[in-house]
């Protein structure tokens, strides 16, 4: 079959690879209907997560049709149209049974790497490096889904493929950020990043009752989209001082909840700091550029919560710990616990109080995927998400 493979830093190619097979009784094989580019892939493609091998299939956010079922699978049958959580959860370890699916104990087959890097291994992800288990990604005609009874969800009839696709990863990620940050009626919430993840976090904050939601980015069409489709206020951080603007809009308090949806390749307006972070990142003295996290911590109101949704892989520099302790902040982060939210999110899509279709600004074939990733990386042609259709 054909698949999109990582071939080195900033090099993707469509290659012929062997079809996936069932390796465990609780696996299914899914014929991929659609997948999408995710900001997380950019960190892999750019070489910031150095556990890739040339030939690795990427892609982790997808919808498809079940075509083969292992003998231990109870909840799925051939023909089911399913959206699959990007994180694989076994469903029965302590973490899965406590709805912390991305922390599953049993799905990363390379646990020693995570234990060396983070002190503990975390769940496996599709197409996200050998540090996260080395599972094949979903930008392929077919993909194997382990523990499918827990990670694959039947899509309701009324919900179309493109809308359901984002429920695999970006929607639950955004929802989790607002939920676990404790957003409640009356809150003012600020969200850094107007990619799919940031937009979904902003939408979740609104649905959880936030009084005001303010989203921050610099890309005009993303800001415009967030205003129009999400119903959030926006700030262009290149046009103003974000901290001052947020203070002005919040009676001098600062947002109650700050959600960061930018990640380790954040852009900075402060040339000196940006250059410093970039040099350190290049030299691997720091692995990540935490610009938006720093800003969120500074802007957050006393006693507020900062939630880090952006992916970071290692160490950061100039972390404002003083602000965290003196302002009494709660700082949290997580990889997405998809299985916890997907059924509720599918219901909300079906009911119409959540919409995602506008995120799909481009639709391409597998052969066009390398070019689509380039466009997504450079944020050209208004690209927010390119939908990749491996089976045409």
């Amino acid at each position: 079959m054909k698949a999109l493979c990582w071939e080195g830093v900033n090099k993707l190619a469509v290659e012929e690879v062997p079809d996936p097979v069932l390796h465990n009784d609780q696996d299914v094989i899914v014929r991929v209907i659609a997948g999408t580019t995710c900001g997380s892939d950019l960190h892999l493609i750019g070489g910031y997560i150095p556990f890739m091998r040339s030939g690795d299939v990427i892609g982790h956010e997808f919808i498809g049709e079940v075509v083969e079922v292992g003998t231990g699978v109870r909840r799925h049958a051939v023909g089911d149209r399913v959206v699959v959580s990007s994180f694989v959860g076994c469903g029965r370890c302590w973490y899965c049974t406590h709805d912390m699916w991305s922390l599953c104990d049993n799905t990363n087959t390379n646990p020693g790497i995570g234990q060396a890097l983070f002190g503990a291994d975390t769940a496996g992800i599709f197409g996200y490096s050998h540090a996260m288990g080395g599972l094949r990604g979903s930008h392929a005609e077919y993909v194997r889904v382990p523990y499918a009874d827990y990670g694959a969800f039947k899509v309701p009839e009324g919900v179309d493929d493109t809308s359901a696709l984002f429920v695999s990863d970006s929607v639950p990620t955004g929802w989790m950020g607002a939920d676990l940050a404790g957003v409640k009626p009356g809150d003012v919430v600020a969200v850094w990043g107007c990619g799919a993840v940031g937009q979904m976090a902003a939408r979740a904050a609104i649905l959880l009752g936030a009084e005001r939601v303010i989203s921050i980015d610099r890309i005009p069409e993303r800001l415009e989209m967030t205003e129009r489709h999400i119903g959030s206020e926006v700030i262009d951080y290149t046009a103003t001082d974000v901290g001052a603007e947020l203070r002005e809009r919040t009676g001098g308090r600062g947002p109650d909840v700050c959600i960061e949806a930018v990640g380790m390749e954040a852009h900075s307006d402060n040339t000196l700091v940006h250059a410093y972070d970039q040099v350190k990142q290049r030299l691997r003295l720091q692995t990540d550029r935490p610009t938006a996290v720093r800003q969120a911590i500074h802007a957050c109101r006393k006693g507020g919560t900062v939630f880090v949704l952006g992916v970071f892989a290692g160490a950061v520099d100039k972390f404002p710990l003083g602000a965290v302790i003196n302002k009494g902040l709660t700082v949290r982060g997580a990889q997405q616990h998809g299985q916890r939210y997907i059924p509720m999110l599918l219901d909300r899509l079906a009911a119409g109080d959540l919409s995602t279709a506008h995120l799909a600004t481009h639709s391409v074939s597998l052969d066009e995927a390398p070019r689509a990733y380039d466009m997504f990386k450079q944020k050209t042609d208004g690209c927010v998400r390119a939908v990749i259709r491996p089976n045409g």
Binding site: S54, C90, Y147
Partner: protein, 154 residues
């Protein structure tokens, strides 16, 4: 390639604990001391985790291992700890031995993890068949991945 350097950082991380042992020679307190129990928490009731009924990879060790089973606090299940009965030569702790897969604790750690997975889910999740081809950096990631099943801080 800069990224290759950071893979080595992780390699050093995998083996770093062993290096500390050699430098300090404080075996009893070292993270990978041969006397240290390898331990996992199984999300099952203590009555479901019995020393003589452990799943096969661990069971096959017989009296080559000591086993310790106790209830975990709260709702956390059961703590399962094992260690090799025979003292192991210090050389097996070296980075070279561990990269070569010659530290017997690696197999034991793998068996322990597999026992946990079997007790919890009834299967041990297998990796996908590789689609990779070899490059110098890739070989290193491949080596680390091969060892990663038996390595770690547990």
């Amino acid at each position: 390639m800069a990224s290759r350097k950071s893979v080595w950082v992780a390699a050093a991380g995998l083996a770093g604990a062993a290096a500390v042992v050699h430098r300090s020679r404080t075996h009893a307190s070292a993270p990978t001391s041969p006397d240290r129990w390898l331990t996992v928490t199984v999300n099952r009731d203590p009555s479901d985790v019995q020393a003589d009924k452990l799943p096969s990879p661990l069971h096959d060790y017989g009296d080559r291992i000591e086993t310790r089973i106790s209830a975990a606090p709260g709702d956390r299940g059961t703590e399962l700890a094992v260690r090799l009965t025979e003292p192991q030569p210090v050389a097996t702790e070296s980075m070279a031995a561990r990269l070569a897969g010659a530290d017997p604790r690696q197999d034991l750690r793998l068996a322990l993890r597999e026992a946990k997975a079997l007790l919890e889910t009834g299967e041990v999740m297998r990796p996908d068949a590789p689609t990779t081809h070899n490059t110098p950096g890739g070989r290193l990631v491949g080596l680390l991945s091969r060892r990663a099943g038996g390595e770690g801080v547990l």
